[in-house]
Symmetry: C2
Subunit: 547 residues, 2 copies
């Protein structure tokens, strides 16, 4: 690679570009920004989460000079343990982000190994040839930063997830001044968040949530249970304030939420008196009108606290009539069904349920169209690369950039793995690295291929039928009735008839002479038979033994 080329490659992102990992490369130097995970889609069976394919970084591990984590959300941090297993480099992050990383890395036994370095918004750090200026951005977690990456090729602005909130919960707005300052010398390229590119206007301030929560607290007759993301620190601050002003004690339930509360309080990102907080056990002994409880499960995850409450399988307490439940969240695409099912179940238990569709108890943490245009005006980039979104979002972001005057040919809508190169002030498409999904389940990263998932899909459609056949090698006859096992397959209540039918097919194959593979022939015949009888196509396996 020529020395004067700046190369940028987005890695990973399930249908999204560069959200989880971006690679900046100049000469023999690589800067990695973020290392996050993705949640599987509904048809990715048996997958817990997905990480970017880090092969490119592994192949170039000697070049990696540093890793910057922009904020503490899972889609920017969750794959860091996997990356660190392969690549060693200093990890730069702000105090809250680092606190959350420490917990995560400790769980993977990497607490000692990782070289974590604290940085602060407003600071500048040198990483190889990159001079990185950190600027504060508002998002749905405190202490997030965007990056002004000064490279020999020019200045790159990497927004990461942001919104322009004039009245954020922590009183710390996005740093317009610093952005303008960084842009003074000219911005080569802007790589900016496209999440809400379809949304007109300006994302409401976190402040509106205060008013909505106040209304809930004003009228709730009994307990108030608020579900949110465990990482939504500012929401916790808001709930704490309104609980305090309404004379309610506050309990946090759920390990991840408790972990985050602990770190955020310790580091000063969450501020409320000790006297406000009670354990869940204490909360349950207080009068219902004096209690608020924050729980996980705002996405309707069946094993979360809220999920278990909705199906009356929670360990410590149940939902009762008189409870008011707030889902302070927005369904992640693909989760809508789960979320609405959970809401319906909670209503059925007699609770009053308040959620985004009926009250502004949640706002987005991402910029809408007018904010995206503001960022374009503040930075006046020569080139624009929409990132952090699905292709449809990137396309809309590109249209917005054109609307504010960026020529179409200066905008690159790219997919993961497609690098772009900047040389002598020009932008062009560079090489492409493969970016397959890496599926992670309880076994780790190895093993789950697309093929395995297709097999699971097949099993999930009509189940499986297994037949054990033992044949006398001299007579060629069955020595016993076939062993037939059915699982996930419905014989429409005619199991006996179907069993007899299968046996007949087995005998049929045995009687036909000269078959090279009686096992396969039986499987084929049984499949045909089952389809003709039931119009279903279970997976059929025959264990054929000649003894």
């Amino acid at each position: 690679m020529k020395r004067n080329i700046l190369k940028i490659t987005p890695l990973g992102g399930l249908g999204e570009v560069g959200r989880n990992c971006m690679v900046y490369e100049y000469g023999e130097n690589i800067l990695v920004v973020d290392s996050g995970l993705m949640f599987p889609e509904n048809d990715m069976l048996g997958v817990d989460y997905i990480i970017p394919d880090f092969t490119y970084l592994v192949q170039n591990r000697s070049k990696v000079r540093g890793i910057i984590i922009t904020h503490g959300h899972e889609d920017h941090t969750g794959a860091l343990p996997h990356l660190l297993a392969e690549v060693q480099a200093p990890i730069y992050s702000t105090p809250l982000t680092q606190g959350m990383l420490e917990v995560k890395l400790a769980k993977h036994g990497l607490a000692q190994k990782a070289d974590l370095r604290t940085v602060h918004a407003g600071e500048t750090i040198n990483i190889g040839p990159f001079k990185v200026h950190l600027f504060h951005v508002c998002h749905s977690i405190p202490d997030g930063v965007g990056l002004g990456i000064e490279t020999p090729a020019g200045m790159i602005i990497h927004s990461s997830d942001y919104k322009f909130d004039h009245t954020p919960v922590d009183g710390w707005p996005s740093d317009y001044a610093r952005l303008a300052e960084l842009s003074r010398g000219g911005v080569l390229a802007l790589l900016a968040d496209s999440t809400n590119a379809e949304r007109p206007g300006w994302t409401p301030s976190e402040k509106v949530v205060d008013a909505a929560l106040n209304r809930v607290f004003d009228r709730a007759p009994g307990r108030i249970i608020i579900a949110s993301f465990a990482s939504l620190i500012s929401r916790m601050q808001q709930v704490a304030a309104v609980a305090e002003s309404h004379g309610r004690k506050l309990a946090f339930v759920g390990t991840s939420m408790q972990d985050n509360v602990k770190i955020a309080r310790k580091l000063g990102y969450l501020k409320f008196p000790d006297s406000l907080v009670v354990s869940i056990e204490q909360a349950l002994n207080l009068p219902p009108a004096e209690v608020a409880i924050m729980v996980t499960g705002s996405q309707g995850e069946p094993t979360s606290i809220l999920g278990r409450l909705s199906t009356t399988r929670n360990r410590l307490f149940d939902v009762v009539p008189g409870d008011t439940i707030v889902l302070s969240s927005h369904p992640i695409p693909g989760n809508e069904e789960n979320v609405y099912r959970t809401i319906n179940r909670l209503f059925a238990l007699g609770a009053d349920v308040i959620y985004e569709a009926i009250a502004p108890v949640h706002v987005s943490g991402h910029a809408s169209q007018e904010e995206m245009k503001l960022l374009l005006h503040l930075t006046r980039p020569q080139f624009v690369v929409p990132v952090h979104g699905e292709l449809r979002h990137l396309k809309q972001h590109a249209l917005l950039a054109q609307q504010v005057g960026v020529p179409a040919e200066n905008i690159a809508v790219i997919e993961n793995g497609q690098s772009i190169e900047f040389v002598d002030g020009a932008m062009k498409l560079g090489g492409r690295v493969p970016t397959p999904y890496v599926f992670v389940d309880s076994s780790g990263v190895a093993g789950i291929s697309e093929d395995v998932m297709r097999e699971r899909e097949k099993l999930s459609q009509d189940g499986v039928v297994m037949v054990g056949v033992v044949v006398d090698r001299f007579t060629g006859r069955m020595m016993q009735t076939p062993n037939i096992r059915i699982f996930g397959f419905s014989a429409n209540g005619e199991t006996d008839a179907i069993t007899a039918g299968i046996q007949k097919r087995v005998e049929g194959v045995l009687q036909r002479s000269g078959s090279g593979s009686p096992e396969r022939d039986m499987e084929k015949d049984i499949s045909t038979y089952l389809y003709s009888e039931t119009h279903r196509r279970p997976v059929v396996f025959v264990s054929f033994n000649k003894v």
Copy 2:
């Protein structure tokens, strides 16, 4: 049952109440309103669709005096073939609805058997003790009706799916006057559509879609491909009009869409000149800028035309750069992931994609909050029973009814199977009939239970491992290496080691004396072994034969 009781029982509706079937009962007389199907949720594996449990109607089949189908959508018509297999009664519907029913029934070989009777909005029909006044309602399909059901207990208004559109495509607004007239003598109860109860304001008129389509046609450089529901007749009319005004020919692709076009044109619900329509083959031979194509697949269904176009598996033509694709639809809850994936794929093929989030190319067919209040004011019911929605929608609808002055105790939010009874001007909860889901797949209605589905879910998580073991009954030793089959299970690339490990567990069980069920012991041991090696829990089956 006492003669002077009016009993109303909602049957069926997946998480929704009474959408698919409502039963009105007075003395020995039953009137059935609608017989629709539901689409399965993402975790209902291998299910094509779901129908209401008709047991209650089967048990009371001699009482059924008539079936009214309010409009031609699948969620109101799709289970009719299943109901007619059990219950005989005249079926009343308006001309377009009946035309669509005839096609459906013919496919089930029921064309001759069904006693279809044509009725028209504005007419009154006598069905047993029920005097049913049909009034026209606007919805996303023409010729829909709501019902004023005059019963000895009082007047019931059954809205079915409706909106108050002042400028509908067919120029035929909902019949306010008739509604007011029916209400003059007092309305005992209103049973009304709750679909959009969370949506403030007034649902936009179909008219706004005209403007959006015009903008698309004004600027599209190549072919225009519009995906919509096959039953969205009014959208077809709109597309036809704008195609004609822009000098484009129009082709319809997809059997269900072609069927509906044929009926709707024959009956006069779709009006355009023959010269406008071309076959898809003809369309493909015309210059791209002179063609519009309507296709099915607006929900991103993988096997639909649009789904196949997005994955380049369509038979007759492919998407090419320059194509403009319009999704004139709203994702059904649970389908969001499929729809957005389809949009992203179409963008990736180089098409310009226009969809609801970025342009008003679709409007809802259901009333929003202000319309729901208008209906309440027009009918001034003594009692309100919110129907046609999930519990969360019914709850919001109940709040709206309270806002316009209906006392809370006069509003009944009920679940499917829960009957309500009206006697001497009072409303009370009646008996409850069980309403399990009846799952339908390619095999028909029999057989798919919740248990079978749980088994499929288990298979879909970590796959299956099957082991065939043959043992000498005298020596107790294996006569052959076990037959091991793996499907949907990942051994993390260590298949040989795992196979050897399984064999060892089998031998271990054989060596331990006195086991009552070596089969079960082996399954248990192998499961434990596989979990310890891979942290996965496949379904394990052993076929154990002693010979």
